[in-house]
Symmetry: C2
Amino acid sequence: MERDTRLPIGGLAKRTGTKVNTIRFYEDIGLLPCAARTASGRRTYGDEDVGRLAFIRNARGLGFSIDEIRSLTALALGPGQDCAEIRAVAARHLLDVDKKLERMARLRAELARIVQLCDGGPVSDCRVIEAIAAATA
Amino acid sequence: MERDTRLPIGGLAKRTGTKVNTIRFYEDIGLLPCAARTASGRRTYGDEDVGRLAFIRNARGLGFSIDEIRSLTALALGPGQDCAEIRAVAARHLLDVDKKLERMARLRAELARIVQLCDGGPVSDCRVIEAIAAATA
DNA sequence: TTACATTCTACAGTAGCTGTAGAAGCAAGC
DNA sequence: GCTTGCTTCTACAGCTACTGTAGAATGTAA
């Protein structure tokens, strides 16, 4: 059985695909609790820390902001009947993502149109600059 | 006929939907040329400045970075036969946008799945936190 | 022991602005 | 002429979410 699998900060970094500096940064801003320290002052991490950091990284990967993650973890560690709020945070974020997607799709179309203005024609007929100057996106 | 329609910085700001500080920022970083000044030292802008700022704002709206805009204007004001390069900048940016869109669509799907884990079930069954912790996006 | 890797703190830099402080100018009303 | 209130000026701090660096200390392997 594996036990006492304490990791130094570099180990945690490798395990979670996070940079060492980022881990310290999360601790600084209170997103991660202060790490335990060895006698010489170095941070050590256990399984719980691995899980918590993995959660943070996944949430960031899903586009949650640091503040949203703060809310999520506060709710998750809180009284217990706040699941509706947790869902609300995620649902709100989903709406934001949908808005961004929509906006990006419109932008993409406009951009493609602009690039095509040049397609096939002689180089001297390029209207890309004018098209950007008149863009509506 | 309208002539001598010189604008103070606030007027240019309104005209182009840009904040005053942003205009000064663009001048600072050399994206806009140094503005002409009145006797008392205030910036004044003419039609050309309106056009150039409008171009910058549209390009930003299309997601071009400041550096890309720098390239575009340099090419546009340059020798003249660089249109292929202009198109290349825009096409490269389009590819970037496509990549981002793809990534966001995947993320959106994962997020929707997670939010749905809660749908209709009793509040105490919410698995959003666990789902985020195990997310693959 | 010597060398190299890792960690420590502390701080500067990234993009693209945005906001603020404090001083000066300007235009209108009385 | 004077006051009020808006705009502008410079200069700098702050925002998000990290990332990179310097310089010192500590750990590990040959």
